[in-house]
Point group: C2
């Protein structure tokens, strides 16, 4: 029973990694759509979100099956329940990629991000992608995710967000209120995406190893 | 067993309503803090969030106990699992009240919301509060929550958000970029709060009645 349970847990873990891959692809596409004012890329991201939602429902079904079949208790039950939290984080990351894509569409054919913000937005996207990439690798390389690294990525995102706000609230900002509001919301989308990625990364390690991430 | 399960489900429902009450109080306090530049009110909201987080963990513990003890399957299992989604929505609503309170603190002693936006922000807060109030009453009056009403509340929130953006992107806006960015983020916090409230309201009805909300 115990071995079967571990196998089923690993399968749930694989589904989660599949979801993590999908939302990583989504945010990459959304960033391309945003920085290159690429409407087709934006549209593709929005359409692909249905697949993430489908994966989300599949994880929940799978978790219910595992609980019904294996009747886990105590720590085992908590572990399988953690898969639900992870999938909720990942589902939300898909939504946030959709928000970025929709911002690109709303401004198209104009670029949604003024030139002097493109650098910092690209860096925010890179940090978000770096965290998402770690999640997708954790199944094959369980030691790839270190808590200290996730904290560092988180700090980098906070620094970038502060930098972006300094530009758009600074004396040389000349793109007006609408572009500033867009940029502030975009920063929030990337920051939230990274936050959910860090959360789900921590929990995936717990799910797959039964141990919380070491610092 | 079946009757016991229903009783335990109702107890989980009561815990969720307690959480809903707490996050309703939190957003009311945050709105007061925001519109009256009341720093003590803001601080109280931020401190009270620890209690919401505690309730959140208690719901999860309780759900695990119910699953371990009653070993529900099929629909019963899905129903008890839905309590986890509801508590996640409510926990997030507490966070969003905290974001509103922190905005008030950041601008203190200046008001974070310029006079011409106070009306629309107050209305957004009222819609958010109306939905949250329905959740807290659903246990004693299960028919208080109608899907059509929730949809109407949701539409009202969208209209208010559009109105707010029309003001801050309009030609007469004279409060600069920073106040506009704050207002846009505040609008998002209220809109997200209402969105989570609608979600959790729908799911609480399902949890308590076993039936989805009728339209």
């Amino acid at each position: 029973m115990r071995e079967e349970f571990q196998t089923e847990l690993l399968e749930v873990g694989q589904q989660l990694v599949e979801m993590a891959e999908a939302v990583r692809v989504a945010m990459r596409g959304a960033t391309t759509a945003l920085l290159d004012a690429d409407q087709a890329a934006a549209q593709a991201v929005i359409e692909a979100d249905a697949e993430v939602d489908r994966l989300y429902r599949r994880v929940e079904e799978r978790v219910c099956e595992v609980i019904a079949r294996q009747a886990p208790v105590a720590t085992d039950l908590r572990t399988v329940i953690s898969a639900l939290h992870i999938s909720a984080d990942l589902e939300r990351m898909g939504d946030l990629a959709g928000h970025v894509a929709r911002t690109a569409i709303r401004r198209h054919p104009a670029p949604a991000v003024p030139g002097e913000l493109a650098g910092v937005v690209r860096q925010m996207a890179e940090v978000a992608d770096r965290i998402a990439a770690k999640i997708t690798r954790v199944l094959s390389e369980p030691d790839v995710l270190a808590a200290s690294e996730l904290d560092r990525d988180d700090d980098a995102m906070d620094d970038l967000e502060r930098h972006l706000f300094a530009i758009l609230l600074g004396p040389r900002w000349r793109h007006g209120v609408e572009a500033a509001v867009d940029a502030a919301l975009l920063a929030r989308f990337y920051e939230r995406y990274a936050d959910h990625a860090v959360n789900s990364g921590r929990q995936i390690v717990y799910l797959l190893t039964g141990e919380p991430l070491a610092n």
